[in-house]
């Protein structure tokens, strides 16, 4: 493991930020300030952050709605996320799209669409372009256990494998696709096995152990960067909340939730850091305080941000604006 003490603390700070931003968003949601649904990644923070942290500047990611940690690692701010959720003009999508649907290739992030699996072939295309442009780009994308059932997931990985493209596909197996359990999603024993069918390496990892996740991601990223093609990582984790904030997840067995609560990735990592001597409990508490203060400030600024001007609704459909005005009626001259 080549992580420095600083980097290990950095991982912790990102995980704490991920969690606190969401807690703040829950408050805003309950106050009716979030427009639309709120999608939590509680209990999955280690997967997002451990994987994204294995990338370097210039690499490009395609995160999904539960990958708040990924966009934080890629340099987006808590304010960006909160203005998105509140549909503000100052949000990265300017109010055009919701939640974590934003991105900019120049900042290393490709925006997802809601159709699951769609990012896989698109990220393969990003990697293909990177190779054509002789750029050192590794691409990474995330998908849930449910998303692996889509055709796009299959087509994208297969294409990337044939072309030996630098693409890392992280399957976050959190047990649930909305209300559908893993056993109704696939007859496969595990999802890492699917890699065999594509002729690429597949690896299962404890998704709630951020250091293990980082190590697995790092192996995959290094392989991709050296021309070894794609890797499929299956991170075993658990969705601790419903599909979205409205969903009380009554379909989830209570004992299963309790079992996974014991494996909370953030508490677990805090213990690891203290035990290994990489941080003291006081130092971690100081990080927690700093993160909370920062996010309070960010939330305040986000709440003060304006909503978009309605005129923007008609803009930017095409590169060159067409005549987005009322059509002229041709009248006979009398």
């Amino acid at each position: 493991m080549d992580l420095s003490r600083e980097q290990k603390r950095d991982l912790y700070r990102f995980m704490r930020s991920n969690r606190v931003v969401e807690e703040k968003l829950v408050n805003l949601y309950r106050q009716g300030k979030v427009v639309g649904g709120l999608y939590r990644s509680l209990g999955q923070e280690a997967t997002s952050i451990g994987t994204a942290y294995a990338l370097k500047k210039g690499d490009i990611v395609g995160p999904l709605i539960r990958n708040l940690g990924v966009v934080l690692v890629m340099g987006y701010s808590p304010r960006d996320v909160m203005t998105q959720y509140m549909a503000r003009a100052t949000s990265p999508s300017g109010g055009k799209d919701c939640n974590l649907h934003f991105g900019d290739p120049d900042r290393g992030v490709i925006s997802p669409i809601s159709m699951l699996g769609a990012l896989v072939p698109v990220m393969a295309g990003i990697a293909l372009a990177g190779r054509m442009q002789k750029k050192d780009i590794v691409t990474m994308t995330w998908i849930g256990d449910g998303g692996t059932s889509t055709g796009a997931f299959h087509e994208g990985i297969n294409f990337a494998a044939v072309q030996k493209l630098p693409l890392v596909v992280v399957v976050e197996n959190n047990g649930w696709a909305y209300s559908t359990p893993f056993r109704k999603q696939t007859a496969a024993k595990n999802l890492a096995d699917k890699a065999v069918a594509y002729g690429i390496p597949g690896e299962q990892v404890d998704g709630n152990d951020v250091l293990a996740v980082y190590a697995a991601a790092r192996r995959a990223v290094d392989l991709a960067r050296s021309g070894g093609g794609p890797t499929l990582i299956e991170a075993m984790t658990y969705r601790m909340k419903g599909h979205a904030e409205h969903d009380a997840q009554a379909y989830v067995p209570k004992e299963e939730l309790e079992e996974w609560r014991q494996r909370d990735p953030l508490e677990r990592y805090a213990r690891t850091l203290v035990e290994s001597g990489d941080a003291t409990a006081e130092e971690l508490a100081a990080i927690d305080r700093a993160v909370t203060e920062e996010i309070d400030r960010e939330a305040e600024a986000a709440e003060k941000s304006p909503l978009p001007d309605p005129a923007i609704a008609l803009q930017n459909v095409y590169a060159k604006p067409s005549s987005e005005k009322e059509p002229v009626v041709v009248r006979k001259q009398s």
Binding site: P92, S93, G94, K96, D97, H101, F102, G103, D104, P105, I110, S111, I113, S114, M115, A118, V120, P121, V122, M123, A124, G125, I126, A127, L128, A129, G130, M132, Q133, G151, A152, E155, G156, N158, F159, V162, Q163, N316, V317, Y318, A319, K320, S322, P327, V328, V329, V330, R331, K332
Partner: protein, 340 residues
């Protein structure tokens, strides 16, 4: 192609030397753009070594190599998805659908990823998706369709359909240079049936500009693609009967050149909307709406659609002939409208 429903058009045997077919014109356009701009690359099924099912890309892998002419798995979602990703990175991908019918397999990538990207995130997706559409060759329900209306209905896309070799070359070049996703619908019936002499010098045909193929004063036939030839054939028949038809070739279906259409109908005061695609929700319905909204006072008769009926494309020659619009059906409609 004996027994093929007659779509009209010049006799393939009548062309002289130095003339370029529709299929060769598309290839010439692709080759020029690939030579001009190294960001341009092609991907699709069997387009490299084999040269494409219709040989549109024949010889290009030899000229540009397999990095720029990519034979892909049978996976339209991956083909268009990879093209979307590459386009976001500043490349200029041209994706082939072996038959345009298979474009449905990539519907999400086109309508949800490519079409909405600029609007949602400010990231343009300058890709071209091209392939053979249309019937008349007994291809059956899955090798004969005209799916352009689905895409003209999707904001963010541009849709073009050339009727001539000149336009095929000029429009594919414009499509590749366009900063937005362009769907380029070729007509397979035209590939080797029409030819013309093309200029030696480079030229472009602008997206969004229609062309008046025949000037007339009694009624306007607004059409595109292979049906332009059907309209011209019908116009000849009608002329002998004293009906002077104008033929407008839209060339671009979205953004539509409404001004040229309006100018024509304001002159003739009657319009037939002709297309090979099925009727309901088709391009003809849209033109009818535009004419009704924008030049109602000029209309001296009902807006008449001549289209395929609302059925799948049948396979057997007599069935397909019954399905496809042709000169005879068009003339019948034109006579009735002229007499209105």
């Amino acid at each position: 192609m004996s027994g093929a429903p007659h779509l009209g058009g010049p006799d393939p045997g009548s062309a002289g030397k130095g003339q370029t077919t529709y299929v060769d014109a598309i290839r010439a356009g692709l080759r020029e753009e690939m030579a001009r701009d190294e960001r341009v690359f092609l991907l699709g099924e069997d387009i490299g070594v084999y040269g494409g099912a219709f040989k549109v890309t024949d010889g290009l892998i030899q000229e540009f190599g397999e990095q720029r002419v990519i034979d892909t798995p049978i996976a339209e979602t991956a083909i268009v998805g990879a093209a979307v990703g590459a386009a976001m990175m500043g490349m200029r991908p041209v994706a082939e659908m072996q038959f345009i019918d298979f474009i449905s397999c990539a519907f999400d990538m086109i309508t949800n990823f490519a079409a909405k990207s600029r609007y949602r995130t400010g990231v343009g997706v300058p890709l071209v998706i091209r392939g053979p559409s249309g019937g008349g060759v007994h291809g059956g329900p899955f090798h004969s369709q005209n799916p352009e209306a689905y895409f003209a209905h999707t904001p963010g896309l541009k849709v073009v359909q050339p009727a001539t070799a000149y336009d095929a070359k000029g429009l594919i070049k414009s499509a590749i240079r366009d900063d937005d996703p362009v769907l380029f619908f070729e007509h397979k019936f035209l590939y080797r049936r029409i030819k013309e002499e093309l200029p030696q010098e480079e030229y472009l045909v602008p997206i969004g500009k229609a062309a008046v193929r025949r000037s007339g004063r009694d009624l306007s036939i607004i059409t595109y693609g292979a049906m332009v030839w059907t309209a011209l054939e019908a116009a000849k028949t009608l002329e002998a009967e004293g009906i002077d038809a104008e033929v407008v070739d839209l060339r671009t279906l979205f953004p539509m050149d409404e001004e040229t259409v309006l100018e024509s109908v304001a002159k003739t005061n009657k319009a037939i909307l002709l297309h090979e695609a099925t009727r309901t929700g088709g391009i003809g319905a849209e033109i009818a709406a535009v004419l009704s909204e924008r030049c109602f006072e000029y209309l001296d008769g009902p807006l008449v659609r001549v289209t395929a009926p609302d059925t799948p494309v049948p396979y057997s020659p007599p069935l397909e002939e019954a399905f496809l619009p042709n000169s005879e059906k068009l003339c019948r409609a034109a006579r009735a409208l002229a007499a209105y």
